[in-house]
């Protein structure tokens, strides 16, 4: 699998939100004690499933920038018991646009967003439980909360 690069992720998210975005690849995943979101992607032509696992505060920051929300408003929405529909739609769009960096050599089509891995479809659940390829990144968004962004792939 061709590795997604910090540069490509910086270009993508920086271009998306119009802010400085700093991406660092790390060798070990150190989970933050925050809510996670999961995006599933169908990679063509193999029809294999890749997953993005990301900290909700990070995705919320990117989504908030898209919507023009200040950092405090993003934190409020991220911390809410239930994610407000418009904000959820923006997070969904962030994960959709991330399809271009989920696979650098094949076409990845965003499928669905999940708040709990329990609900992942079987093939995605297999990838999540036992990924062959793991790419771990930490992402900082200027003026907003950052977090972990992981790409998990099968063989």
């Amino acid at each position: 699998m061709a590795e997604p690069t910090p540069f490509a992720i910086t270009q993508l998210f920086g271009g998306l939100v119009g802010r400085n975005v700093t991406v660092t690849q790390v060798t070990k995943y150190l989970p933050n004690k925050v809510k996670q979101m999961y995006g599933t992607y169908l990679v063509k032509p193999m029809d294999s499933t890749r997953i993005v696992q990301a900290d909700l505060p990070l995705l919320g920051s990117l989504a908030g920038c898209l919507l023009g929300l200040p950092s405090d408003a993003v934190k409020e929405r991220v911390g809410a018991a239930e994610i407000e529909e418009g904000f959820r739609d923006a997070i969904h769009e962030v994960l959709n646009i991330a399809s271009t960096i989920v696979s650098t050599e094949y076409r990845a089509v965003f499928q669905k967003m999940f708040a709990d891995p329990v609900y992942l479809p079987s093939e995605a659940a297999d990838t999540f439980k036992d990924p062959v390829y793991r790419n771990y990144f930490t992402i900082k968004v200027d003026g907003y909360e950052g977090g972990n962004f992981n790409i998990l792939a099968p063989l």
Partner: protein, 122 residues
Amino acid sequence: MDLLLVDDSKTMRLLVQRAIRQAGYRSLTVCEAENGADAIEKLKSVSPKLILSDWNMPEMSGIDFLKKIRSENNKTPFGFITSEASKEIKDMAMSNGANFLITKPFAPEDVQDALDPILGGA
């Protein structure tokens, strides 16, 4: 009505309209649709100068929507705004009658470069 904007994401419809305004098209009138099937319904009552559509949408994808309207001899200029960036997708879009394809994320300049030849500048 100048523009039919087709995207299942409300956020993206908002962002596209913001970029269009930033590109100088402040008085453009816009009709929104949530997918290809919804857009076909809208086209029964509106005649836009341009259609901008996402590619991946539930119910009817952007490419199926384009194929459908071209098969009905609708020649309205058509552009995709999509996260699909591969050559295969671009070739498929153009061979089915699309005028341009803008890749997400996009800048207002990208929108302006695509719209100017069709709408004649802001």
